[in-house]
């Protein structure tokens, strides 16, 4: 789960990390009022989950009311790399002499957290990592002990930071790590952490992504989730409890189990089609869940045909077949052609139950995918 910049900054500030004065605005008037209150210059920053907002025109530095009004008017409502901007953060523009990077994430390769510091803040850190990996000091953290104080210092000194700010940056890194640990962070980043002429440090941007599996014990962060959701279909998937990812193609895909669904997507591509989505109904799905899945995929206007691929382990073919039948029987006209393949537990029973007036049944994964690709092509043409 990703927090917006303004949400992340609230969480960071509460933990004691210095952040600039700022206010959230949803209208031009709110933005201008905020700018007046904070005092110019201010930055007006689109609140969307997009990297490189600055380059894409989502951040503007303004010096007076006229500029503020113009910038807010332009940014609010704009489409930023496919995301609609409905909120901006109006923020005191910090006068800085230096920008550094601090971050914490899980290094899954070693199964341990890693804290990172770089003197090359303010730019895309992933590019820095590729061009000049040594410019990022990395300190793996023993999750049994948490981050030792010396590790924060070591990262900061190894990154070559000035001794004058080293102590403050180390202490912010420690706070960031502790926060990441306590709040079940996935990634926590401050980029840039600005250094002012008098060696103050202040978090000018903030990223805080939370482990979705841990939201049960972070109820206040879980409440922010709705506010952060952007896509209607993805919000619907959250509601239904599906693992769902929307893609660009026109073949809708429903299946059970992440690996099998991914494989189904890959086969759609392999046979010349284009997958419209990833939708995993999980294990042991009953009729209602099956109907919800069909509803999801039918709601996607890009979808021209649907392949329903189930390999039953806990999931029973007969239950799925009944679910499909009853979901489709509601329609006078089936909205999109549905191709079904059932295997595994109670697959034969399921095949018999399926109403072949409503769906096309195929015996193998390969046949089902090919049929769906062909059907989608036909609708599309």
């Amino acid at each position: 789960m990703r927090l917006h910049e303004y949400q992340a900054k609230e969480v960071f500030a509460e933990a004691g990390i210095p952040v600039p004065d700022a206010e959230l605005a949803r209208t031009v008037e709110e933005a201008v009022a905020a700018a007046e209150e904070i005092g110019y210059p201010v930055a007006i920053k689109a609140q969307v989950h997009v990297g490189g907002r600055g380059k894409a025109g989502g951040i503007e530095l303004v010096e007076n009311e006229t500029e503020a009004r113009e910038a807010a008017d332009r940014i609010l409502g704009m489409d930023l790399k496919g995301f609609h901007v409905d909120r901006v953060l109006v923020e005191d523009a910090v006068n800085f002499v230096n920008e550094v990077y601090v971050g914490v994430t899980m290094d899954r390769g070693v199964g341990r957290p890693v804290a990172m510091v770089s003197s090359r803040g303010g730019v895309n850190i992933e590019e820095v990592a590729e061009e000049d990996p040594d410019a990022i000091a990395r300190e793996h953290i023993d999750p049994a002990f948490g981050m030792h104080d010396f590790q924060a210092r070591k990262a900061v000194y190894d990154a070559g930071l000035d001794r004058d700010v080293a102590g403050d940056v180390a202490s912010i890194l420690t706070t960031l790590y502790d926060l990441w640990e306590e709040r079940d962070g996935a990634d926590a980043e401050i980029n840039p952490l600005m250094v002012t002429a008098d060696d103050e440090v202040i978090a000018a941007d903030a990223v805080f992504n939370i482990d979705g599996d841990a939201l049960f014990r972070q109820p206040d962060l879980a409440e922010l989730e709705d506010e952060a959701a952007e896509d209607d279909l993805e919000a619907k998937a959250n509601e239904y409890g599906f693992d769902y990812v929307r893609l660009d193609g026109n073949v809708g895909i429903i299946g059970n189990g992440a690996g099998l669904v991914m494989t189904t997507l890959d086969l759609v591509d392999y046979y010349g089609g284009a997958p419209a989505n990833f939708l995993d109904i999980g294990g042991g799905a009953k009729a209602e869940r099956v109907a919800n899945a069909l509803d999801m995929v039918f709601s996607d206007e890009n979808v021209d045909a649907v392949v329903f691929n189930i390999f039953g382990g806990i999931t029973r073919g007969d239950e799925v077949a009944n679910g499909i039948n009853s979901a489709l029987e509601q329609f006078d006209d089936i909205p999109k052609p549905v191709i079904v393949r059932l295997a595994g537990t109670k697959a034969e029973e399921g095949m018999e139950i399926l109403n072949t007036d409503l769906v096309q049944v195929e015996a193998t994964l390969e046949d089902a995918v090919q049929a769906a690709v062909a059907a989608a092509e036909e609708v599309d043409s």
């Binding site: 599996d213 990812v245 992440a258 690996g259 991914m262 997507l265 890959d266």
Partner: protein, 289 residues
């Protein structure tokens, strides 16, 4: 022969009194698995499917001489249950639970690495040695005994591949679902090491997927250490960066690591043929044997 589990494996079911725990205990017993105890705090003295329940894993292990556990404990309590299994101690813990917070698993993994316990999972379908024992939720009926070892990050994809293998008469020595989470106990390398040392496994199928670098690491390991022929499959060729494809671990990072392409290239460079479809995987195995 087989790896990890066989007919002598004596199993404790952690979380046996829950819905899933109970159902799969019955399924495991039916398959012939020697489920000797359940462990659920506060439920000691009860019975589930004829199996005695204990309050603690250590007592279950002691009283019933168990050496393995399979875990159906809800995510919020799973890490604690895993620490309990490591402490008992058991030789093998198979964690079925999906949705364990990653930081919890990081701590469990930290501890597990110090012990002699094999941890399989979490978020995995389990381990099966056809005809001998299954620990987990794998549908026993699709497996058949034989000499193909199987390692997979995904449950139903495993079934698909097994189905294709069985169709061609290629039975399995043991199938290990290593799980779809970012941090797992037994990884490809651990499992490859086991199969490579197993005299009755003649070929290994590894089903990988996007996310992380385990498949790349496994490729390097195969190149250096594995004599048994290996066949591969990688799911998620069409996955876009930054989106989690169901499994917590199946995500191509924003910086482009963890792609299917990188994994396929690494495996092929290590001499591992990677099939484009599950059918092709079975074909590749067939060619080798």
């Amino acid at each position: 022969m087989s790896v990890l589990v066989d007919e002598d494996t004596r199993v404790v079911v952690q979380g046996i009194t829950g819905g899933e725990g109970k159902f799969h205990t019955e399924q495991m017993l039916e398959y012939g698995t020697d489920v000797v105890a359940g462990a659920v705090p506060g439920k000691g003295g009860q019975e589930v499917a004829g199996v005695p329940v204990y309050d603690t894993v250590s007592r279950a292990a002691r009283e019933e001489d168990a050496d393995a556990s399979v875990l159906f404990v809800p995510p919020a309590f799973a890490a604690d249950a895993l620490f309990e299994a490591l402490d008992a101690p058991l030789d093998l813990v198979v964690a079925i639970t999906e949705g364990i917070p990653t930081q919890d698993m990081s701590r469990v993994y930290r501890r597990q690495q110090e012990t002699d316990t094999y941890l399989v999972g979490p978020n995995c379908p389990g381990v099966i040695t056809p005809g001998e024992a299954k620990l987990g939720i794998l549908p026993g009926n699709i497996f058949s005994g034989g000499s193909v070892g199987l390692i997979s990050r995904s449950g139903t994809l495993t079934y698909q591949v097994v189905d294709n293998l069985t169709e061609r008469g290629l039975g399995q020595s043991t199938a290990i679902g290593i799980g779809g989470d970012p941090i797992i106990g037994t990884d490809f390398i651990d499992a490859l090491e086991l199969f490579n040392a197993d005299s009755e496994t003649d070929a290994v199928v590894m089903c990988g997927e996007i996310g992380g670098e385990d498949e790349e690491d496994a490729a390097a390991y195969i190149d250096q250490h594995v004599d048994t022929p290996v066949v591969g499959f990688i799911a998620g060729r069409t996955a876009p960066p930054g989106k989690r494809m169901g499994h917590a671990g199946a995500i191509v990072s924003g910086s482009g690591t963890g792609t299917a392409e990188s994994k396929i290239n690494a495996l092929e460079a290590a001499g591992v043929p990677v099939g484009d479809t599950p059918e092709e995987v079975a074909d590749n195995v067939s060619d080798l044997l």
